[in-house]
Symmetry: C2
């Protein structure tokens, strides 16, 4: 099975309104709620690909209860650790006519360093014993130390479980120094980490900082992968337009599922790019279009990267 860790899970709430106008009153037409947080999204895509997945991290309070009740009928197994605080909500307010979305993200519950983090570490250690790979995803909730992902990377490596880290800022910087197998930053995260906006240079810098493999997202142009086995670019046959929400999480699911199946780098990258492109094309944010994925997969262009002179 593949384990995903989401320390700052969220209940993703979507409101549909005619058009959001600041400082006025709105009737909300439709309210939808679904379990969220990057690792939960990754696990949902893994389930759709037929892979066993287990989600852990924290959930608590009335919002945590709702999140777990919505997760219960879905394929990923719930191994979330209870916390006293209330799980955060993220609210997407979508304008009916244009589909434009305004995002409001709550901060997340305070997690106690002593009891709750210790309980999580016990669960994490037990789950790693059965894991073929682990993904560490998203932001840290208040109260969790900034080196938390570095700690989790070290524990995974000691258990010989391949570990992918998908976060940003200081938690990414510290986590990379603990030598994860894989990081998947976008251009903004790479620039924040390395100071460089040249993807090849920045990804090289990230590797020197400790990541064995760096998959740099190039947005609609696919990915640039610096691996121990070589450098590749993988891209869709043509850039697509749509909602990029969740495209990165689908790419993580593609990379980990292909890794667990023993596929080689070009096949892993093709799957990641096909899944993320099929997610941008899907009408529902964060879902992937299965037909588009099947159609795109054989058409992803994967080439060894030759730096321009």
């Amino acid at each position: 099975m593949i384990l995903t860790v989401t320390l700052n899970t969220a209940l993703d709430v979507t409101y549909t309104v005619d058009a959001l106008v600041p400082h006025t009153s709105h009737r909300v037409g439709e309210v939808t709620e679904r379990p969220g947080g990057k690792g939960l999204n990754v696990a949902r895509v893994l389930g759709a690909l037929g892979h066993d997945s287990v989600v852990t991290g924290f959930a608590g309070g009335p919002t945590g209860d709702v999140l777990r009740s919505l997760l219960a009928p879905l394929p990923p197994r719930d191994a979330l650790v209870p916390v006293a605080g209330n799980t955060r909500r993220t609210l997407a307010v979508t304008d009916r006519s244009t589909g434009d979305t305004t995002q409001l993200n709550e901060p997340g519950p305070q997690v106690s360093a002593a009891a709750e983090w210790a309980a999580f570490l016990r669960t994490y250690g037990e789950l790693l014993a059965d894991a073929d790979a682990v993904a560490l995803c998203g932001s840290l909730p208040p109260g969790i130390h900034v080196g938390a992902y570095a700690e989790l990377v070290r524990i995974a490596r000691a258990a010989a479980v391949p570990v992918l880290l998908d976060t940003s800022g200081e938690p990414l910087r510290r986590g990379i120094a603990a030598r994860p197998d894989l990081v998947k930053p976008n251009a903004e995260e790479l620039a924040q980490l390395t100071g460089s906006r040249d993807p090849l240079r920045a990804a090289g810098d990230a590797r020197r900082r400790g990541a064995h493999t760096v998959i740099a997202s190039l947005g609609p142009d696919g990915v640039l992968a610096l691996t121990p086995d070589g450098v590749w670019r993988a891209a869709p046959p043509a850039p697509v337009r749509g909602n990029p929400t969740g495209a990165g999480d689908s790419a993580v699911a593609g990379l980990l599922s292909a890794l667990a199946e023993g596929l080689d780098w070009p096949e892993r990258l093709a799957r990641a790019v096909a899944l993320s492109t099929a997610t941008v094309l899907a009408p529902t944010a964060g879902e992937f279009d299965a037909a588009a994925y099947a159609e795109l997969l054989p058409r992803i262009v994967v080439e060894p990267h030759t730096p321009t002179p």
Copy 2:
């Protein structure tokens, strides 16, 4: 005790953001939640005035559970009737620098006409036996027939309990025809009901439609009261600026508490205007400033109304 009915209760959620900008992403700084819906607000003010109050209406689902847990430590007694659907949230997004607020109101749960409305009617009938007065407040949730308030007015009158109706649109039109003791429309609600924007003419029309007393809100200028005992205007010593949220609910609490204490119309009106003005002045939306109330009460100007020739 005074009974308040809120068929469409709400969990009032407030988000503080730097400034709401459509189609961008925001970090929410502070999240507060409190039990809401007009009748719950009225009951909270009654509690602050030292009156026993009981709240009924509907609550259900995870949001209803949160609402009831927040209501439990407060003075109003919880006699809400469970429903299968999820109680609605109202979200107020407040810009930190200016205090400007954007409101997003969920529609409310579907209530079943058969089982749930029938269960409510049983509870309502039992509670009326001990009530000195009853306030029927706010919008109807989906599934409740548009004549619901008319039905509740008739039941209260049959039980000889003075009944105040505070709603709008077609439920107000039908409810007035059932001859409530008191309605408290604002200018917009009166205009919608009668087609007239002249408060005296519109309030007279509302009386002819069935309301024994009409207290027309004039916003910062106080109220105009058409009662069986005469016509009065009541106004604060000077108009005040602030957040009018909840001012109408405070006025209802003032009218009902003074009625229960056997005060006469000028005293009832003075209390209603002092409470609503002290609510506009309070820093927290929907609360009233107790010191301002005490200071304002003797200074409210109540005069018999002489129509301009």
